[in-house]
């Protein structure tokens, strides 16, 4: 499955773009997406942490994607 993701903050710099498509092969869970991204972009794994949001809500590794969601990579937040 190919999913489109949005990237913010330091993630945008790691991917060198704010939007990208990721081919997850036959996999479709958030955990698989993270694994795929970390293989392609090893710097992602060196962050303090990062989360994935699906349709504007934080999503755990077990959440399964169907492909039409708005997916965002959320590096450690630092507002305020």
């Amino acid at each position: 499955m190919v999913v489109k993701i949005l990237a913010f903050g330091v993630a945008k710099e790691i991917f060198n773009t704010s939007q990208l498509s990721v081919d997850m092969g036959g996999k479709s869970a958030i955990g698989d997406l993270k694994q795929t991204l970390e293989l392609q972009y090893p710097r992602l794994a060196s962050l303090s942490s990062y989360m994935v949001a699906v349709n504007n809500e934080y999503a755990g590794n077990e959440v399964v994607l169907v492909g039409n969601e708005e997916i965002a990579i959320i590096p450690p937040v630092s507002g305020g």
Binding site: F8, G9, V10, L47, N56, I74, P75, V77, S78, G79
Partner: protein, 138 residues
């Protein structure tokens, strides 16, 4: 009443305080974040704030709703800036009114502490000799 704003325009502190005033309130607690001129001895030139806007707004709304569920509050205002901020400028204003000060103090602290943990907003510190996304790496 809950009022959430994410904007690239300067925040109006007086407006935030006025928005939570009500005859039913016995007090108002306000947190004003300001851009500090140094981090660990390095001089900060400016900050750049970026937000995942729809989610940032919904997460701020969640925090405000959690605070009104947890404490007897009258009104809650959370205003946050995006874009480039110079030293001394105001990235965030939180104002809370309640019948009694204890709830207002506690809720205001809860809101800023939680905002810093969950709301998808990022700041980059620009120094004279480099720049860094705050909290990004261990």
């Amino acid at each position: 009443m809950i009022d959430i704003v994410l904007t690239d325009r300067p925040l109006d502190i007086t407006n935030c305080i006025n928005a939570v005033m009500t005859p039913a309130a016995g007090g108002i607690d306000v947190f004003i974040g300001t851009v500090r001129d140094a981090t660990k001895g390095r001089r900060v030139v400016r900050l750049e704030f970026e937000a995942y806007e729809p989610m940032a707004i919904s997460e701020m709304k969640k925090i405000a709703e959690q605070s009104t569920a947890q404490w007897p509050l009258h009104k809650v205002v959370i205003h946050h800036r995006t874009g480039i901020l110079e030293v001394g400028e105001v990235p965030v204003v939180i104002a809370v009114s309640a019948a009694h000060r204890g709830a207002a103090f506690d809720a205001c602290r809860y809101i800023i502490d939680t905002l810093k943990q969950t709301v998808p907003i990022w700041k980059k510190e620009i120094f004279e000799d480099g720049e860094v996304w705050v909290s990004a790496t261990p």
